[in-house]
Symmetry: C2
């Protein structure tokens, strides 16, 4: 089944290249049609229907990171849906030349002009060309949302011959059936793939986040790796030798232990969504956690494979053992200069807080790249290679990048922005929480602060009046080493509630040792991917009378 | 004369230490006196008077970087000035035990409680203890401002015996008499020491700033160094050897050339002053310039003196050949880790844009520390040593640090903040200028953008409506190397003026490759030293009808 898919994708990818000029012309022509109002959803396919059908509705965020902000797109192939098509007719529309058709339930859609706009990448949508969407929407549950159905409705061209209607439940094995059991405290943003964050009140309870509540960001089903047969393939340098390392082999390298905070680029996305819709995982303040990681240094392993820092602009590409139905593994890369720098302390980690990595966090081996966005800390690591360019993975080149607030899905050029590596300074309030009622008298405000690139947090300012006046919070947690401040600082401020106040607008902002600061507001850093959300964190609370 | 001063300072510094407890108690007691209103100035000393007296009014910013924001201080020793004192009586008040008195014109002041608050450091004020202020104010012209005189008036205790009145012109040789001639285009913020910036319209005319209009930040008179007898003293490591390098010796090290932008920590201070007064050099947007520097790598020179990066937390201390009347040289330090890192490209530069360094920029040798605040690029370099701690220089420990907006001169603890090294992301509009009238039709907006730490500027967003909507500017200037983006990017945006607009609120903000952004507004980053002013730059222009 997977092999079949792969062959089809290759064929269809070739077709995609041929039609790109056509599609671009269409986008230009249609983008002037600004007065058009989208139709209401007309589809009957329901996620609930599928979830009660014996297997859970599943979804991977494959390439789109759960963001489907294309609903404002103006192109619509047809507004009327009177035609009746046979299944055979549909199946003959699988290329730009013939048109690319798909079905959902009894409805037929011409998505030719949409293929190139698909946030998950054209190839993912082309998997369904000429046939039903259901088997794929079952895998990528993020589609089961009203705005996606609204969007699709704009491409409707007719109805399927009633005799040809596809059964809503398709025989598909559940790739998530083997996912591990999770801690019930986690706030789940997406079940399949599993994405969840600890609640704020637990997040800053401990400087080291306990493994079971460490935030989890999976892009695909969790692979079940046999530690006895596991091998990490490291491609050798020219003149060097490729390595095939067992877990025991990895343990023979000198072991390093470092405390590192991981943060998802989408942490605090929910605040961006409040400014303007960004579809996807609604991370609140919890897509960040801290652990003590143990493992071999990447630079030692690369050196054994003969790599040196002679080609300073090269990149180290990582591939996970997690893969999508096309066989494409999760992948990402970091600059070779960082990988080879002993001071950057990049690890091939096999321990998390003194225990073998939990399955959700990459068992048996993951990359840990201190100071860098979580997306590069590739889990279930299968392959390491040095390449002249960044990873060609979707997640490196078509995701996890920042853009101007003016850029939308019609104008975005992913090649124009660098992949996110180091993250900017960040902080958030975890106590009290938004909407809470606090006692008059004294209030204790708690939170975390962190910055990328090894830059230490040197100060956290807290305001009770929305940012008019500030007080300096007390920094807790471990002192950080110069240039290697890989972990967060927790902070708190005990402060009298000003007499007579009925509410407080609590704000925090952090400063790192490069004197970088957080921006005041969200709107000017809004971006279509909802990443890099690091404006002042604001919490509104009531004061008990 | 200098020797005499030095001996006196030593004696007085000892005295200062003894009285520190007393002074702190005073600060606490007085800081509750919030209702007191400062008196109007009552002194007749005039800068104009001095400047026409045959020698220019001179000033060095010695240790206070031209900021004298202590006028709000609440302590006042006396409100009445009826007593008459003899010169002899005044001269017996030179210690905390006796009280510390000074005179200005015919007036006598007890500044015992102020000595510790002196932004230039207690030792500088103690130079004048028991005698007239005029000779020192002549050196430090920044004092000749009304708010300083207002402050001093609060400490007045009486009048000097008319027979003992000091002549307003004091015999003092002018340490600035030998300063070089400057380009008339420079906008002068302080003549003595010389501090000046290029006008905005010239600043971004060239990617490389021509030497004559490169911004100049001097803390002291410009030394006149004989290149033939010049020696750079490099203290050797234990087991290594100290070096005494002539210019020829330095030329024997491999020569490196790099393009580096230097920025003063006080660039754009004038915008902070608009929020709340910050006394000092009113740098506009021009305390930043870019040159091609040539010289020996610091790491090569340190290696020859036997230094290694074994003590990773050590610092490299630099001393200039410029010194104040006490013989104290300008000094600063950077971490040894940066100094020894070949990738950090720290230079001992002897060339600026292909020419020997101009005298104003450190002839014959200055330090160039790419990505780091200008204050560490020590000019007229005389001595290099490796120390376990940062430089004890005033400019390293009591200046060039950032604080919360809530911190004032009564509460500041300079030890609580790290010295500024890397600077945060910065950008400014140089064309059009604030208040200008632009043609309707199309407007061209130009400016610069830069970030510290080798982080490249990846994007500049420009708004015509005060930050509601944004457009992406075109980046000009040289592409930057990864992790070594030491130089600015110039940028421009040609954009139609929206029809019917009578005015534009133009704003710019930059993003660096760590996705650090500039804060929206100035007030939340305001600090008592007026440094790190990197909020969005705003320019209001009128549109010609």
């Amino acid at each position: 089944m997977l092999l079949l898919h792969r062959a089809m994708v290759l064929r269809l990818q070739q077709a995609c290249r041929l039609k790109s000029i056509h599609s671009r012309l269409c986008i230009q022509a249609c983008s002037t049609n600004e007065s058009f109002q989208p139709q209401r959803p007309s589809l009957t396919f329901s996620g609930d229907n599928a979830s009660t059908g014996g297997w859970r509705v599943m979804g991977t965020l494959l390439g789109l990171g759960a963001v489907l902000a294309y609903q404002d797109h103006q192109c619509r192939a047809a507004q009327e849906s009177t035609h009746i098509y046979t299944k055979e007719e549909v199946s003959s529309h699988t290329s730009p030349e013939t048109g690319i058709w798909v079905t959902l339930g009894s409805e037929v859609f011409d998505v030719t002009e949409f293929v190139d706009l698909h946030p998950g990448g054209p190839s993912k949508l082309m998997l369904a060309a000429g046939g039903p969407l259901e088997p794929f929407w079952a895998l990528y549950a993020v589609h089961n949302q009203s705005h996606v159905r609204e969007l699709l409705a704009q491409y409707k061209i007719g109805e399927l011959n009633p005799e040809d209607k596809v059964a809503p439940t398709v025989e598909t094995s559940d790739p998530y059936a083997d996912d591990p059991v999770r801690h019930p405290a986690l706030k789940v943003n997406s079940q399949c793939p599993f994405n969840a964050e600890p609640p704020p009140e637990l997040l800053t309870e401990n400087y080291i986040t306990p493994n079971p509540i460490f935030f989890t960001r999976n892009h695909l089903p969790v692979p079940n790796v046999d530690p006895d047969t596991y091998r990490l393939h490291v491609v050798g340098a020219p003149g060097g030798q490729s390595l095939s390392l067992s877990l025991d082999d990895l343990h023979k390298f000198p072991k390093y232990e470092i405390t590192v905070t991981l943060q998802c680029a989408g942490n605090r996305r929910s605040e961006m969504t409040q400014v303007k819709e960004v579809k996807g995982l609604e991370w609140r303040t919890g897509a960040i956690s801290t652990a003590r990681w143990g493992g071999a240094r990447l630079c030692d392993v690369l050196a054994q494979a003969g790599h040196q820092l002679c080609e300073t602009e090269a990149h180290v590409c990582f591939e996970g053992l997690d893969s999508d139905p096309t066989g494409t593994a999760y992948g990402a890369s970091i600059p070779l200069a960082r990988a080879m720098d002993p001071e950057a302390e990049v690890l091939l980690a096999y321990e998390m807080n003194g225990q073998p990595l939990p399955r959700d966090h990459g068992f048996p081996v993951r990359v840990v790249v201190p100071g860098v966005v979580g997306a590069r800390h590739v889990k279930w690591l299968g392959r390491v290679s040095v390449q002249p360019e960044e990873s060609y993975s979707h997640w490196q080149r078509r995701d996890y990048k920042g853009f101007s607030p003016s850029v939308d899905w019609d104008t975005v050029n992913f090649d124009s922005a660098p992949s996110i590596q180091e993250l900017p300074v960040q902080s958030a309030i975890t106590e009290p929480q938004d909407g809470e009622t606090v006692e008059s008298g004294e209030v204790t405000i708690k939170g975390y602060a962190w910055s990328g690139g090894g830059r230490a947090v040197i100060r956290v300012d807290v305001s009770l009046d929305g940012g008019l006046t500030w007080q300096v919070a007390e920094l807790d947690g471990e002192e950080q080493r110069p240039r290697k401040a890989w972990a967060w600082r927790l902070w708190q401020l005990q402060v009298p509630v000003p007499a007579g106040q009925k509410e407080l607008n609590i704000v925090c902002k952090a400063v790192d040792d490069g004197y970088n600061v957080q921006p005041d507001t969200v709107a000017p850093i809004w971006n279509l991917r909802g990443v890099l959300s690091n404006a002042w964190h604001r919490v509104h609370v009531h004061v008990a009378p």
